[in-house]
Amino acid sequence: MEKVRSHLMLCAGTGCVASGTTKVKAALEEELAKKGLSEEIKIVLTGCNGYCAEGPVMAVYPEEVFYQKLTVEEVPKLVEEHFLKGRPYQKLMFREPEKKTAIPAMKDIPFFKHQVLRVLRNKGLIDPEKIEEYIARDGYQAVAKALTAMTPEEIIKTVKDSGLRGRGGAGFLTGLKWEFASKVPSAVKFMLCNGDEGDPGAFMDRSVMEADPHSVIEGMIIGAKAIGANYGYIYVRAEYPLAVKRLRMAIDQATEAGLLGKNILDTGFDFELDIYLGAGAFVCGEETALMRSIEGKRGMPRPRPPFPAVKGLWDKPSVLNNVETLAQISPIILNGSEWYRSLGTEKSAGTKVFALTGAVNNVGLVEVPMGIPLRTIIYDIGGGIKKGKKFKAVQLGGPSGGCIPEHLLDIPVTYEDIVATGAIVGSGGMVVMDEGTCMVGTAKFFLEFTADESCGKCTPCRVGTKILLDMLTDITEGKGKESDIATLEDLSRDIITTSLCGLGQTAPNPVLSTLRYFKHEYESHIHQKWCKAGVCRNLTTFWIDEKLCKACGACLRACPSKAIVGEKKVPHKIIQELCVNCRTCFDTCKFNSIRILPAGFEGDPNEFLAKTAAGAKEEK
């Protein structure tokens, strides 16, 4: 084997590629060649590292030095310092906000420190396009164990005892699902994988498929053995071209290695696996709809029972598991259910991957033991809110989920505790919102989504979501009525109880959860015509507080409609007749001197703001 001094694990996930991985790789190769280091230093393109915001990122092994925000310009310096002189290059290392010291090792960086990697066990460590590297990290050992040393009943018992719950949304016990399907006698059964990650704001499945495709395939082979299926499909979104490519490669390699196809590992077990490209429909995340889609039809759900474990794809018993769930299977088989239970809580065992995005400092993929407080994820891993702004809410579970306010941040992240807040764990999208987000607008955003994605089969969902959306639109445009809040609540409950599938049954959640914690925002929209976040254009008046204005001219230059007048050292003023309420000045001002008042405000702003501030205090 060739001798290599260092390995440069350069992230080639979608995020880092968009930030310039390809160019950085070329520059690194050129520079290493120039310095005569090409032989001893090897560049490996890995799947998504998870720390997307600071990309392109790279880890140097064996030193474990982590570099971020690589640029072509910095490459020569980096190569000279680190690889010629042996001094890790501080300039490209992680620094904690406010503190100046650079942190060289990945394990010491707060973003990584609190994480426990099980699903993402191979992230940044292997080349996802090589089966050998997966095998070197104990890959396919679980298949060998399950196929040669375990009965289907033993596999199911292990998975059931581990307490692993479906990571796609509903959180149903995976082992139980397998058990149902295994007990239905049928010559033909199907093992399916849901890679149609439809929740906006979630990208863990994409990352797993891109960074570690074999882990999904391995989970599927074990599941197929457990339920007695000989055919399988991975249903992937067509929007994920890289994931499709890597999965195709992985299937070919596994087939060649005798891990897929006929007579796997000489055990007499057959399993054929194929990829099916989805065509873009959110409802296809619902299992019966997804199966219809593989049949080549409109992806519409059907009533259950019969459950897919009895009558699924082409009316044959079928099991559908999510990508992240399947990636958890092989470590469970290898290490046992007790090991899996060593993390998490009684009812929510193990780890869960979250896609942390929005207004936090460190965005990316994080895998944490279940049961840790939300606050740890947002403040310790996420590094708190960007630009020192105030936290307002964290949205969990996408269009089926809800918003969790500040005072609930200390609850542990488990399926039950999150549901109690009105949100759901869902697939793990975690979007953090700061004070500049309007909660009525957020509810409207999600309803736009569900109203558009409703498949139209059942009336409560098709018509109900549209009515909710129309009412929310009216409220954000200043046409809200006194009775709206009660109607929103009533209608939401009706839609939840009468819809056919999960899409309609959860679509009103964003409305209900914002009403529960942010009712005052709805009320100020309706009664005072005041969007305090300054997002709804018809419900705001921007006003410059002359006491705070430093007359720097920043807002004046940024204003697209030239509605701000002022000079150096003379506090600026907004000419309301020209202002289009675009909020540019508000975002530009560094001194927080721009205040938001109700639409068509008349009177003394100082007095008004003082009065509302006092009122808010009293309420508390």
């Binding site: 968009a18 979630a202 990208f203 071209p241 490209l277 873009g280 995005t357």
Partner: protein
């Protein structure tokens, strides 16, 4: 009128040129030959032709290079491929470049005549208004490729969606003629094909532009201000989501989530992902694809600069 059509046959084997000449001359076509891509280009520089029949595998200047040259320099000349090795990749490339049809080698006189007749009709029908023809019909080469895909998938259960995906790759979009052809090929009602096309957001019945701008409308992008970016892009290209610019250069598509939330707000142009967008950054990127340059008129720009300096 077909009798006056002038055809240039390009092949490195003289026997192919000779036999094509023998067949087509008797029907009144004017035939000339060229033994390679270079000679063909020289001939086209000097004379005018209605159609070019070309081999793909030729030494020096090969068929694909020749087709590229014709499309760029003589876009009015129709192209037909004569080939013995229709590998899927080269065929796909040739179809994307806009050939009319292909003749497999070896060919019988009747096949050659048939293809020639259709190609001449097609080329003439297209000339006056280059692009309009596409909506109602599409070149025989595309039709053949489509039929091949249908045949390949026909036996598989649930093949409609994969066939539609391939068809959209070949034709670019799924107009009624394409849907009808697929329905016939797969032996299912047209309504069923249409019901699937209209259900999934991936399928489009309108042609897309050369560059498809896919703007992410996911939650993370929403929180980070994609709405402002989208408004600016719409403004600049003067089209809405789901529309294509008049010059067919750009189209805008709103997508649910591109799964690159770490970089929000995000858009994708063709296969490239662009993150951390601001309205002005987005416009700059679009102008790199040949879109209208900076949104400001020259006067406004000077004014802005002056303001900053002042």
């Amino acid at each position: 009128m077909s009798a006056e059509s002038k055809i240039l046959v390009v092949d490195d084997e003289l026997v192919v040129i000779k036999s094509a000449e023998r067949v087509l001359k008797s029907e009144g076509y004017q035939i000339e030959g060229a033994l390679g891509g270079r000679e063909a280009i020289l001939k086209m520089e000097q004379g005018t032709y209605d159609l070019v029949f070309t081999d793909l595998k030729m030494p020096e200047v090969d068929g694909i290079t020749l087709i590229r040259w014709i499309k760029k320099s003589r876009p009015n000349i129709g192209i037909v491929i004569i080939t013995g090795y229709p590998s899927q990749d080269t065929m796909k490339e040739a179809i994307e470049l806009g050939i009319i049809d292909y003749v497999p080698k070896p060919f019988t006189p009747s096949v050659l005549l048939d293809v020639t007749k259709r190609a001449v009709e097609w080329a003439e029908g297209r000339k006056p208004s280059e692009e309009k023809a596409v909506a109602e019909e599409f070149p025989p080469a595309m039709a053949k490729e489509l039929d091949r895909v249908i045949r390949e998938y026909r036996q598989r259960p649930g093949c409609l969606i994969p066939v539609l995906q391939r068809a959209q790759e070949i034709v670019g979009f799924l107009p009624p003629v394409v849907q009808k052809r697929i329905a016939k090929g797969l032996n299912m009602p047209e309504a069923e094909v249409h019901s699937v096309v209209s259900f999934y957001s991936f399928f489009t019945m309108k042609p897309r532009g050369d560059h498809n701008v896919r703007v992410c409308l996911g939650t993370a992008c929403y929180v980070k201000g994609i709405e402002g970016v989208l408004a600016k892009i719409k403004d600049q290209l003067k089209i809405d989501i789901g529309e294509t610019t008049e010059d067919r250069k750009f189209s805008i598509e709103g997508v649910r989530c591109l799964g690159a939330c770490g970089l929000a707000p995000v858009m994708m142009i063709d296969q490239e992902t662009y993150g951390a967008l601001t309205p002005s950054k987005a416009l700059k990127i679009i102008s790199q694809y040949g879109g209208p340059a900076s949104g400001q008129s020259p006067e406004e720009e000077t004014a802005a600069v002056a303001e900053q300096e002042g």
